[in-house]
């Protein structure tokens, strides 16, 4: 028997905001019947972009239903921008914690919310392509990598708890273990072999790092970044969208972009902004 908190039990037995909204401003659907759980989240916003109404429908276990119900309570009355910042850990914490094997229920909540907000903004979901590693649950290497990084996962078991990968036949456990190792090895030993890079190699690696590590984070805040030029150790970039007008752009560049590029490309890089 699972150890559920009183709050989980309460949200399961008396779920808040169950149902459908006839004309929602944002809808996010994740999961499937085959996977064993699914969530459809709908909301409307008022003129100030505050979530005015929210409803959910969930197929799944008690913690999936409780996570969905908790999420609706958490985002009601918040602005879309505020709601967007909610993480799966926030959902679990709101419920007083979830059994670790059930963390994927909170991840499902976060994913549905993300989808609903993208839908509200009229944006397409960025393709998480890559190669399918876990055939049972259709999880790709990219998705596993991202989850390992975001949630600092160390073991196959944890990856399974968070995104289900490896929870079926178990044949992909070695592959998942390799991905986990790769993520941490990359973080540790990345600068080593980069010494003898040609200019073209360096530019390619910078572009790859921007795409993989930096752009997704900036895009969350409605901004982006573009590589303009590379001259020796100097990397010239242009900030786009909200980033361009953001007062904290200097900090973003130095603390985030430069740090990532130093980590993944070369430790001597210096990032300079090119203004329009």
């Amino acid at each position: 028997m699972w150890e559920y908190t009183d709050k989980v039990r309460d949200h399961f037995l008396n779920p808040r905001n169950v149902g459908e909204i006839e004309k929602p401003d944002g809808v996010g659907e994740v999961g499937s019947m085959a996977c064993g759980d699914a969530l459809k989240l709908m909301f409307t916003v008022d003129e100030n972009e505050r979530i005015a109404d929210v409803k959910f429908q969930t197929f799944g276990c008690a913690s999936a239903i409780a996570s969905s119900s908790a999420l609706t309570e958490m985002i009601m009355g918040k602005t879309v921008g505020e709601a967007e910042k909610i993480t799966n850990d926030d959902i679990a914490a709101y419920l007083g914690g979830l059994p670790k094997e059930k963390m994927h229920c909170s991840v499902m909540g976060k994913d549905a919310l993300k989808k609903a907000i993208l839908h509200y903004r009229g944006l397409e979901e960025p393709d998480i392509d890559g190669d399918v590693v876990c055939e049972c649950f259709g999880v790709t290497d990219k998705a596993i990598e991202a989850s390992v990084r975001d949630n600092k996962l160390q073991y196959v078991e944890e990856v399974t708890n968070y995104i289900k990968a490896g929870g079926g036949c178990g044949q992909c456990h070695d592959a998942i273990r390799e991905i986990v190792e790769r993520v941490y090895k990359k973080a540790e030993a990345a600068p080593e072999p980069k010494k003898k890079m040609t200019n073209i190699e360096k530019i390619k690696l910078i572009e790859e790092t921007l795409e993989r590590e930096i752009k997704p984070a900036l895009e969350k805040d409605g901004g982006s970044i573009e590589l303009v030029d590379v001259d020796g150790a100097a990397v010239y970039v242009k900030l786009i969208g909200t980033c361009a007008t953001c007062a904290a752009s200097e900090l973003t560049l130095k603390n985030y972009v430069e740090e990532k590029l130093r980590e993944f490309v070369s430790p001597d890089l210096v990032v300079e902004e090119v203004r329009q």
């Binding site: 064993g36 197929f59 276990c61 008690a62 999936a64």
Partner: protein
Amino acid sequence: MKTIYLDNNATTRVAPEVVEKMVPYFSEYYGNPSSMHTFGGMVGKQIMEAREKVAELINADPGEIIFTSCGTESDSTAIHAAIQSNPKKRHIITTRVEHPAVKNLCEHLAKTGYRVSWVPVDREGRLDTDYLSQRMTEDTAIVSIMWANNETGVMFPVEEIARMAAEKGIAFHTDAVQAVGKVPVDVKKTDINMLALSGHKFHGPKGVGVLYVKKGTKFAPFLIGGHQEKGRRGGTENVASIIGIGKAAELAGKDLAGGEMDRVRALRDRLEAEILEKIPNTLLNGSRENRLPNTLSVSFEYVEGESILLMLDQLGVCASSGSACTSGTLEPSHVLRALGVPFTAAHGSIRFSLSTYTTPEEIETLAAELPPLIRKLRDMSPFWKKEASCSTQ
């Protein structure tokens, strides 16, 4: 709140008569049955009596009964005995729907170089006996087929399969943990070489099992140690539990002879009929005919098993599910998947298993409480379309 216990395939209530019989062997009669003195010897006599009672329940000779610690140990002992006594044979036949006690052992042996044939079942859970007979070869060390399935209650024609195996000189073992006490088992007239059973599945205590080994069957002990069980299972006897399983076997024999299981069957059938009639989009898992009298496995489409169980728990009803969330893995039970139950239904599977302690009132209460409970969960489910319910009602 009164508990309505409908999870008897998981474990059963220990009969009060059994408890009563056991208690003195925890306290005043603590002697070692192997001792030479009267104080211990008296305990040894009680164990002999228990052995006779268990033998009687399955119509074996007392000398063919080995006491073990559980059903799993009995299964493991049987399979290891067969492969050790036939060191040149490297092939095992079993089914896709075995209990983990056999399934996981065979998967383990497959990794150590044994070839394992997994006999499939059809949509109703019936065994493909043609597939099975074709796989029996000179290299086959053992055929291990469960008597009755713990999840669906479907029974296999083990007597017929045992004969097929005997004709080819292959050892036959059956995990009869779910069958013994619920249906008549008579090993004397069959070719079954080894049979595993467990005390706590028929109102005996936990922590005691039995392995029946037919006279003349090649055997090798699994636990090697003292001379207990005639050297076939080392280790000081679990005295109180062995005496308890003896009493439970005696009671089970009486219940079977007295038609108690027919009463259980009638209750199960009533529950089944009520559920299928009152709740649309509900499927029965497993064959209706060849089934244990106490087991009912149903799938409620569009809802998930753990949610159903937790809501039932609020009502004091104990049942179990083959859904992913309850199995501790992320996939629904291997048994339901082997049957080809679609994922849409496998996640919403619930097993009710009755016992002679189940009352008609309990079944009535459940039959009344279940439909609104399933409706509540379906109303929450994004897959539940109102029209789906209309079309099948």
